[in-house]
Amino acid sequence: MLHVKNLSKTLTLADQALNILVDVNLDVKAGESLAIVGKSGSGKSTLLSLLAGLDKASVGQILIGGEDLSQMDEDGRAAVRKKHVGFVFQNFQLLPHLTALDNVMLPLELMGNTNASEIAKEWLDKVGLKDRINHQPNQLSGGEQQRVAIARAFCCEPDLLFADEPTGNLDEHTGLTIENLLFTLNKELGTTLILVTHDEQLAKKCQRQVHLEDGVLTESTSQTEQA
């Protein structure tokens, strides 16, 4: 599903080249779940932004469903995201002036789906927010907001789901609920999940874990190995 070859990202700051990611190679199969683990500043978010096509690599190749992101401009990558990718963010990234329903409908509408409202309602029902569809983000708790974000991410049935510290802003109990929801839906839909976290426990719930340190990726373990 995702193929990464010799990926590097270098930034130039005050005439000094700063290597954020160095020669990253990675393959993720369809339906697989992968956790990218690393300390703060290790380059996790940069890697996620490159894998999801949010940013452009300095060197290397990224293929999603066979489409080469490195050959595309921003609009081309946006089209790939629309077709294949879903997101769940640490800070939920809901639009504050839209209701829960409108937030979930947004990606469907961008795809031109004429049945957006029905689908969004179904997904809000699935994440347990049937009665809160007309609430705005500031009227929802953190856990509820993340559930809206999960509904928004899954409603387009993406091939690839990127989750950036999805429980980072939540308390332990709510975090667990959200984790369960995320993995359950992922399993149900057979979505490929790529999750960035520094939480070892959460990472262990994924089939594979890779470790990122100073921009260098090392494959640490996989569920099969653990088994």
Binding site: S45, L48, S49, A52, L54, D55, E74, D75, A78, A79, V80, R81, K82, K83, V85, F87, F89, Q93, L95, P96, H97, L98, T99, D102, L106, P107, E109, L110, M111, G112, T114, Q136, N138, D164
Partner: protein, 869 residues
């Protein structure tokens, strides 16, 4: 996503966005721009059209054409083709005969349509005559009619001298006519009131019967036109290039009276006021749009992240802006239109009952203008959203590179110039005004940065409030600079509007102050002058000076006969009739010498009587010799427009023929004369002593309260040879018009102030989220409400003072430039404003600030943090 889905999606987002302060502010600013434009332009449009209409009553039409020959028939057919109503008059001077008495009269023969505008003021008897019911027969009333064939209406003095009464007949040439009414005021008041011959109005169809108008007769034609403003403008534009030198076009604005000039100034003021209110709104829109754009970086990033293309993101935001423009502009224009009725209600007492109907054009123009102002000003920051990187969803600190705003800036300036042109009708004024203001705003931006930096460097010397305020402002330098610039702009505009208004009012007040003469007395013979003067003094009436009047014809310019200089029927009208000449040793206070010098005082020159006697008595002493010896040389002062028409200046010689005696004079000065001041005015003033020995009568003007009608009758009976002309009606009309105009100006000033105040509020709100963020943190760290309140207060006090300082410096610079370069008068700093503006700034900013920050002060830290996040 197809076009329709995009329209629906953006509309839905736009509706949801209305919950945000930024969007509401943007909408509010647009709405206000439209409200003020629509209200002021609808109000101003109706008022100015009504004032035009009323003023046009004084010249009996919207447009007049004067000619000494019958005009080309095409003119009239074109006027008719353009839907104008026309009326014409034929004028000539002739003798009227009755009871074996002859009297020279100035006849205006008119068609049935006359007067197209206004009224003739007539009476059914003479002043002092009493009818059967004990009522005064001389009481005037207004009629919208002209004499029927066979009838004439004549001034009382004509009838008195001929010894005829209403119902009697008079002979004019070969025709015999019945006197039907006494003519008190002709509907066309543009002619001289002080003609020694009385006026007579008759039907044009009777002219052939008189046989007095033949080839070569000295006659004049006047044509009157009325119609829609557009048709009048169109016809005037069509006609102007076709006119020859003998044909003169006249209208309300060009009529030589104070109504025309007051109206023109009032219109300019109304236009300026509405332009300033739009500019105030435009500045607020720019501030709000910038903030709105920044607040939507995250939305744009999320949309990109979810797969929207840059074109889709751009289109969504442009559509949202378009909805704001449409709703703000349409709603605002309609509200403005409704409010203009309220504005009219306020000044209803002074408004004429027959107010011109409202038209949709000002509303439509306001809609388009407000929408265009928003779209062009807000588009540059909104297009920034298109450049937001989707990575911002992960790294908030990423801001897009600014779109090059130059093109939009140029476009915005362009639309403002177009708007200014619509409002002022002058491309030069519009360009100067708008480009000047754009430069001024840029300078404000730079100066506010310098001022804030300068004050910060000496903040240890400042009181603690200002110190704290400066720290606060310097934390958000960009916003601080914008706000200082915006407030400085607001206060400069208000100060300018205030000062211009004061100048306007002073100007009008001077034109018809209380006690302005409402009667003219003419034909006062020198031996009756003292008695008449005494009669006025005994009654305690304020009167003007007694001006001597000598009738004379201007015959030569620099010894060349005027008939050789100007072709027949060309040249100034003053050449075709006898002029009223006067003499004076003192320059009137309301006249101004524009070239040369006023006559020397008696002790500074030779005895002019002696010189005159020498000139008259001795042929050996030539004019040249007198000049060479520095003696007085029959000096005159000439009115500047006549001087321009004759193409003469100081030092040139003018010859007059007075009662058959040629008199060579030298122009000593050119004078600017205030024609609209209701006092006797003269084209030519002689040096005292030059024409004193010629036959002369005196003229003066005096003020008589309306309640003293009986005394006037007695005066008429005592001084039968003296003619008293009442101009109460004219004065009343002028006063009414000026008073309406003044009220309108006051109302519009108040409106601009309200606009400025509301926009100020909007400007303060634009930094509300920043303030909330800060307050949330302070409150979380334990700061009390009073600490936050005092921080905000000190920031606003500093903001007020810095903005007022900048406003005052720029206002004084602008007023200096205006006074020194435009009005060419001495400049004085406006000290009262140095007190008023800072106080106004402090009060208004603190007042607006209190309302803008209520949420910040009252909400709990948790609420604030939640809102900020």
């Amino acid at each position: 996503m197809n076009g329709m889905q995009l329209i629906i999606l953006s509309f839905k987002h736009w509706l949801n966005d209305l919950r945000s302060n930024e969007k509401r502010l943007l909408l509010l600013a647009t709405l206000l721009a439209a409200v003020s434009m629509s209200m002021i332009s609808s109000f101003g449009d109706r008022l100015s059209r009504t004032m035009q209409y009323r003023a046009s009553e004084l010249i009996a039409g919207d447009l007049t054409l004067f000619s000494s020959r019958e005009v080309n028939g095409d003119y009239l057919s074109q006027a008719k083709a353009m839907g104008l109503n026309t009326s014409s008059a034929l004028g000539f001077s002739t003798m009227a005969y009755a009871n074996e008495k002859l009297q020279l009269v100035r006849v205006r023969s008119v068609d049935e349509q006359y007067p197209l505008k206004g009224y003739n003021q007539v009476a059914d008897g003479f002043m002092g005559e009493i009818d059967g019911n004990g009522e005064g027969k001389g009481k005037g009333y207004l009629v919208k009619a002209s004499p029927k064939p066979g009838m004439v209406w004549a001034e009382e003095r004509v009838l008195q001298r001929l010894g005829v009464k209403i119902g009697d007949t008079v002979e004019i040439g070969d025709g015999v006519f019945t006197v039907k009414r006494v003519l008190q005021q002709d509907a066309d008041r543009s002619g001289s009131l002080f003609s020694p011959f009385g006026r007579l109005l008759m039907s044009k169809s009777d002219v052939p019967q008189t046989g007095v108008v033949n080839q070569g007769s000295r006659i004049w034609y006047k044509y009157y036109f009325t119609g829609s403003e557009k048709s009048i403008k169109g016809f005037s534009k069509w006609l102007k290039p076709k006119l020859n030198k003998a044909e003169k076009l006249g209208g309300v604005a060009s009529s030589q009276n104070n109504v025309g000039s007051a109206l023109e100034k009032a219109q300019q003021y109304l236009s300026l006021a509405s332009l300033i209110s739009v500019l105030l709104a435009a500045v607020a829109i720019a501030l709000c749009a910038q903030r709105y754009s920044e607040r939507h970086f995250n939305t744009a990033a999320l949309l990109r992240c979810l797969g929207a293309s840059s074109v889709q993101v751009r289109n969504i935001f442009i559509m949202k802006l378009f909805y704001t423009a449409m709703v703000g502009a349409v709603l605002g224009s309609i509200i403005g239109f409704i409010l203009h009725f309220w504005l009219l209600e306020i000044v209803a007492d002074v408004l004429p009952k027959d107010l011109m109907p409202a038209t949709f054009l000002p509303v439509l123009m306001s809609m388009i203008s407000a929408a265009a102002v928003l779209m062009l000003i807000a588009l540059a920051p909104i297009l920034n959203l298109n450049k937001v990187s989707p990575v911002r969803v992960l790294r908030r600190e990423l801001a897009p590179q600014s779109v090059k705003a130059n093109l939009f800036f140029v476009l915005a300036v362009g639309i403002m110039v177009a708007l200014a042109y619509l409002l002022t009708d002058s491309i030069k004024l519009s360009v100067v005004f708008v480009v000047g203001l754009a430069i001024l705003l840029l300078i404000y931006g730079l100066l506010s940065a310098v001022l804030l930096k300068g004050l910060s460097s000496i903040r240890f010397m400042l009181p603690s409030t200002l110190k704290m305020g400066l720290i606060q402002l310097n934390r958000h330098q960009y916003y601080a600079r914008s706000q200082v610039a915006a407030f400085a702009f607001i206060f400069t505009s208000v100060a300018l509007i205030w000062i211009v208004r004061g100048d306007l009012f002073d100007n009008w007040q001077q034109q018809v102050p209380d006690g302005t003469p409402n009667h003219f007395a003419i034909n006062i013979l020198p031996d009756k002058k003292y008695d008449f003067e005494q009669a006025l003094k005994d009654k305690g009436l304020p009167a003007s000076e007694f001006y001597p009047m000598v009738r004379g014809r201007l015959t030569h310019v620099n010894d060349v006969n005027v008939s050789e200089i100007f072709k027949e029927d060309e040249g100034p009208n003053a050449l075709r009739r006898e002029l009223n000449l006067t003499w004076s040793s003192v320059l009137r206070t309301d006249s101004k010498i524009v070239d040369g010098e006023w006559f020397l005082k008696p002790d500074e020159k030779m005895d002019t009587h002696a010189v005159n006697a020498m000139l008259k008595g001795s042929e050996k002493i030539s004019q040249k010799m007198v000049e060479e010896n520095g003696y007085a040389n029959n000096g005159i002062s000439l009115e500047h427009r006549l001087a321009d028409e004759l193409n003469v200046g100081v030092g040139d010689r003018i010859t007059f023929n007075i009662a058959g005696t040629p008199l060579v004079t030298t122009i000593k000065s050119i004078r600017d004369v205030k024609w609209g001041n209701f006092e006797p005015n003269f084209y030519v003033v002689f040096e005292d002593g030059v024409i004193n020995d010629f036959h002369h009568t005196y003229i003066n003007s005096f003020y008589l309260p309306v309640t003293e009608g009986q005394w006037l009758i007695e005066l008429n009976q005592t001084f039968k040879a003296i003619t008293v002309i009442e101009i109460d009606q004219i004065l009343k009309q002028v006063r009414d018009i000026l008073s309406q105009t003044s009220m309108a100006v006051e109302a519009i000033l108040a409106l601009v102030l309200v606009c400025a105040m509301v926009l100020m509020f909007a400007t303060l709100l634009s930094t509300l989220s920043l303030r909330k963020h800060e307050a949330a943190l302070y409150r979380t760290f334990g700061a009390s409400e009073s600490v936050i309140r005092s921080r905000i207060r000190s920031e606003y006090i500093t903001l007020s003072l810095v903005a007022s300082l900048l406003a005052l410096v720029s206002f004084e610079s602008i007023s200096f430039a205006l006074y020194y370069f435009v009005f060419k008068v001495s400049w004085m700093p406006h000290l009262s404003l140095w007190v008023a503006i800072p106080i106004l700034a402090l009060c208004s900013i603190l007042f607006s600030g209190y309302f803008a920050n209520r949420d910040v002060l009252k909400a709990s830290p948790r609420q604030l943090l939640q809102e900020v996040n």
